[in-house]
């Protein structure tokens, strides 16, 4: 091992003679950068921008649903805004945020100088703004933007889609290509560039969960590309993949879409699992209960995620044997997910806990993600799903796994690593305020949706019967609170980045472990030019 380290050292000292390793000046720094930290920062800023845009659309939805009747928007626009909200949050906010975290943290955690494929890294980031520029511009086109829901079921999205659908397909193709490149980069970085001594089983969990996520991306993004291409052909070249009157099959669309779509939901949550598995031990001052079982549970979830897609389609008329298979397989996912939750709780048990913002978000993550998991378990029961399917119960379910799941996971990570990124501590009081307002707002917004769904309110409707009025109003108030609170996060981060807090030590947290805490805060522009030795 020492020979490897020596070789790197000499290479590095040679390099230093040639040029000074600092960022380039001006805007070209950002356009041409191949530095994983710069690219990570751009991903994070982009995703937060998209989060605010998608959130604004959610505010429009909740404003319209504040009271029965049509007040603010017409049904045509309502459908566009729900579709855009979903697409932007999934592909523009959550996924890029995790790629941003991966860019920043993976090299620091495995002791690598950068990502394995830095130029492709730059390219995969810059594709994203192009993709979303196209996607958002469809709203201003003749006939409006996509109005068929983020799941874009055919034939509503093909034969009956607006003229802008082809732009939507192009935008998603580009975003998919960006994700595939990101995944290739993550896999090659993790498999090739770990510091000497860091065996696979010694890898930090965020690295592990991202490795598995990257394989999921690699497996299903081409499937998304396939279904989009079939749509493109149906719309523009006269094929009938999904058009029954031409011998096609609308249900085929759903099978392909959900074969992509179910692993996709794990793509949005597995990296958060990883981050939480660092934060909980750090603030409990106690090692993670079961590192190995966490790795195996993540692998099990990833494998099972390929076998459950049709639980999104219990009402399409799958034969009873198929229903049973998908019901059993879906129930099975609760086991490895349970293992993870038990692990986190066992880590907290008999620790020595403090409750800084990352820990608050992490605890809320565990509790509320589990609530989302419970409703997922209920949805898995096929006969009961006939009542839940496509109602607000489902809306409540996936917002519980995505908002306090994925998004609280991202907030927890951001507060946890902000000192490392900026070199300053964030304002703890403000961060705790951000947490509590988000927590209250989010529960107020999404918990009543369970009741609405059970009482019989379908999802994706711009107007509703009078018995749903009360809970909708509560939900809207909660949503406004949650939405407004996110501006506070922007303020906290800007204040921290501009040096408005205490300077941070290399390891600002008592119990945090890992290579990322061995470099100074803020992390220098180039780190681990000499690989560290892992025992």
């Amino acid at each position: 091992m020492s020979t490897v380290a020596d070789a790197h050292t000499s290479e590095h000292s040679l390099g230093q003679n040639h040029d000074h390793h600092g960022p380039a000046k001006g805007w070209t720094r950002w356009l041409f950068t191949t530095n994983h930290k710069d690219i990570g920062t751009m991903y994070l800023i982009f995703s937060f921008g998209m989060f605010l845009l998608g959130g604004t659309m959610a505010m429009v939805i909740r404003a319209e649903l504040f009271q029965p009747g049509l007040q603010i928007v017409q049904p045509e626009f309502f459908n566009q805004i729900t579709t855009m909200h979903g697409l932007i949050m999934v592909f523009g906010a959550v996924m890029p945020a995790f790629v941003g975290l991966a860019n920043w943290m993976l090299p620091l955690m495995i002791g690598a100088p950068d990502m394995a494929l830095p130029r492709m890294n730059n390219w995969s980031f810059w594709l994203l703004p192009c993709s979303f520029l196209i996607l958002v511009s469809t709203l201003f086109m003749d006939g409006g933007g996509p109005n068929f829901g983020w799941t874009f079921y055919a034939p509503l999205s093909t034969t009956y889609g607006p003229p802008s659908t082809t732009y939507f397909i192009f935008a998603l193709h580009i975003a998919g290509a960006s994700s595939i490149m990101g995944a290739i980069n993550v896999i090659s970085t993790i498999l090739n560039m770990r510091a000497p001594g860091m065996t696979l089983m010694k890898m930090p969990l965020f690295v592990w969960t991202w490795l598995i996520t990257a394989f999921l991306l690699l497996a299903v993004m081409p499937v998304l590309a396939g279904v989009l291409t079939m749509m493109l052909m149906d719309i523009n070249f006269g094929t009938s993949f999904f058009d029954a009157s031409g011998g096609g099959d609308p249900v085929l669309f759903q099978h392909i879409f959900w074969f992509f779509g179910h692993p996709e939901v794990y793509i949005m949550i597995l990296p958060a699992f990883g981050a939480i598995s660092h934060i909980v031990p750090a603030f409990s001052r106690k090692p993670l209960f079961g590192h190995a079982s966490m790795v195996y549970a993540t692998c099990a979830i990833a494998l099972l995620s390929f076998l459950v897609w049709a639980h999104h389609m219990f009402t399409v008329g799958i034969p009873v044997a198929g229903q049973l298979f998908f019901m059993y397989a879906t129930l099975l996912i609760a086991v490895p997910t349970g293992v993870k939750v038990f692990n986190w709780v066992a880590t907290m048990f008999r620790g020595s806990m403090t409750f800084e913002a990352p820990m608050l978000f992490a605890i809320a993550f565990i509790i509320l993600f589990t609530v989302g998991g419970f409703s997922g378990l209920m949805l898995a029961i096929a006969p009961a799903d006939f009542q839940y399917h496509d109602t607000y119960f489902v809306v409540a379910h996936f917002h519980y796994v995505l908002v306090p799941g994925a998004i609280f996971g991202i907030f927890a990570s951001a507060y946890f690593w902000l000192p490392k990124w900026t070199g300053y501590m964030y304002d703890e009081t403000l961060a705790k305020t951000h947490f509590w307002l988000s927590f209250v707002g989010m529960n107020l917004a999404f918990f009543p949706m369970h009741f609405l769904g059970l009482a019989g309110m379908p999802r994706r409707i711009p107007d509703y019967a009078l018995q749903f009025a009360d809970f909708n109003m509560v939900s809207s108030i909660g949503a406004f609170l949650f939405g407004a609170t996110q501006l506070l996060f922007l303020f906290i981060v800007v204040k921290c980045a501009r040096g408005g807090g205490e300077p941070a030590a290399a390891n600002p947290w008592d119990g945090a472990e890992g290579l990322e805490w061995t470099v100074p805060s803020p992390a220098p522009y180039h780190t681990f030019s000499t690989p560290p030795e892992v025992r």
Binding site: G351, D390, L466
Partner: protein, 376 residues
Amino acid sequence: MRVCAKRAFALCGLALFPVMSMADWTMNMSPGVTQTSNDIYGLHMTILWICVVIGVVVFGVMFWSIFAHRKSRGHKPANFHENTTVEVLWTIIPLVILVAMAIPATTTLIDMYDTTEADVDIKITGYQWKWKYDYLDDEFGYFSSLSTPRDQINNRQTKGDNYLLEVDNPLVVPVGQKVRLLMTANDVIHSWWVPEFGLKKDAIPGFINEAWIRVDTPGTYRGQCTELCGKGHGFMPIVVEAVPQAEYQTWIGEQRAAAEKEKELTQKEWTMPELMERGEKSYQSTCAACHQADGSGLPPSFPALRGSAIAVGDIAGHIDIVVNGKRGTAMQAFGKQLNEVDIAAIITYERNAWGNNVGDMVTPKDIFDYKNQQQQ
């Protein structure tokens, strides 16, 4: 305690928003009125309580740790990790619970799929944005669409009790008999859901899905389309009247007679005012959702008819687009949806309403001949 809180909350709501006095705070699924819906309710409550118990145990341990094992109380961290016994246990126990849950769910599911030996067959077809019910044994059928006035939706009128859950022609089924429902769709995917029956099934173009109900209590039951199907998705409710057997038979008789009479109308000599009157009615229920009540449309997806080249142009072109639709657009082929009388009346109305002033008329016989010609 909870009831008090609910009341207090409801009272606040009442004071603030008088319009909401109709609303209620229903929090749970209804057990419904069929055996299936009762079985589902049972499964729902079982799994809900299982979740609650697991939640209390897991979060109980967590909250205890948060309370007792905090640094501010001077708790020193332990250093244990990995314990095979515990890890095996927390894998096996959930697995056993899931198997226990899967068994009754399987029984219910198999029962729901048994559509054999039905007494009545009804075909349900989803359209943008209405339902069609065809009584296959008695050879008649009709459309069922939203009857809530536009003014209520646009807040110009007080909303009625069954706001958005009322239709012009409800589906009528006999009490106590097994009714088999065959579902399909004409354009995009719809989904037919009546919560009280525990029945939700997608209506998919090119497919025929089967489901069944046996309603034991007479009454009116309401539901909605639950698959996003375009701009009218929130506005295509379902209303089902479950009536006693004798009443059902009388109703069937009336419907058959009416269907006969409707067929005769095709042969009748129609006058312009008659056609215009019928045309206005049919236009409002069939065409106005897209082309708007005043013919102004919603361009570019739904073109205006007022002054349009087709509506004031060649009569053959006008008949063609109404009967055969326009591929690749939302304009459906109405030839099979509407009878000759309605098609003739609608075309006549479109050519002579809202300032369109062609002056000609189309009779049901013209349409009949046109359709025959097309088939040859």
